[in-house]
Symmetry: C2
Subunit: 105 residues, 2 copies
Amino acid sequence: MSQFDQVSAVKKANIYFEGKVTSRTIVFADGTKKTLGIMLPGEYEFGTDVKEIMEIQAGELKVLLPGAEEWLHIDGTGEFTVPANAKFKLEVTAATDYICSYIAE
Amino acid sequence: MSQFDQVSAVKKANIYFEGKVTSRTIVFADGTKKTLGIMLPGEYEFGTDVKEIMEIQAGELKVLLPGAEEWLHIDGTGEFTVPANAKFKLEVTAATDYICSYIAE
């Protein structure tokens, strides 16, 4: 499936770090949300409110998940999950295209 | 209207200029397309296939439309139209959030 069907797309972008991280919110019929985003090279720290599943579609980055001691390296495609109310760090080394799913539990 | 409803959102981003210009394609029920995009500061030249209406939602940039001698300055919000099969230049000075509509004639 190369696209999400029957969704709403929010017009305004989410812009962080002066535009080095941006995303678009899409809303599904059941009210759940995903963001489709781009991260440019840089070092970032993010916090979660709910559980997040990050699917990397293209790019290169390292991820330090909460409580982890080893960085996870993703080159090309990959996926990681961040629990709710947690912080995680990213070192992005190539423009990275991602889908983030927000999972209320 | 803050969102586009009942659309399909293409998963993969469109990435240009090493990620300094990126966009997401959304497809409407009638088959027409728009892109929701971000341009970071820089100088760019683009070409059109069909007529494009560019709605600037936030940002700052100058536009040199095809055949024009004067640059159009947009600070905040604005709109411009580019004919089909034409080239136009942009000088973006702040992260710019846009909606591009593709008009087949």
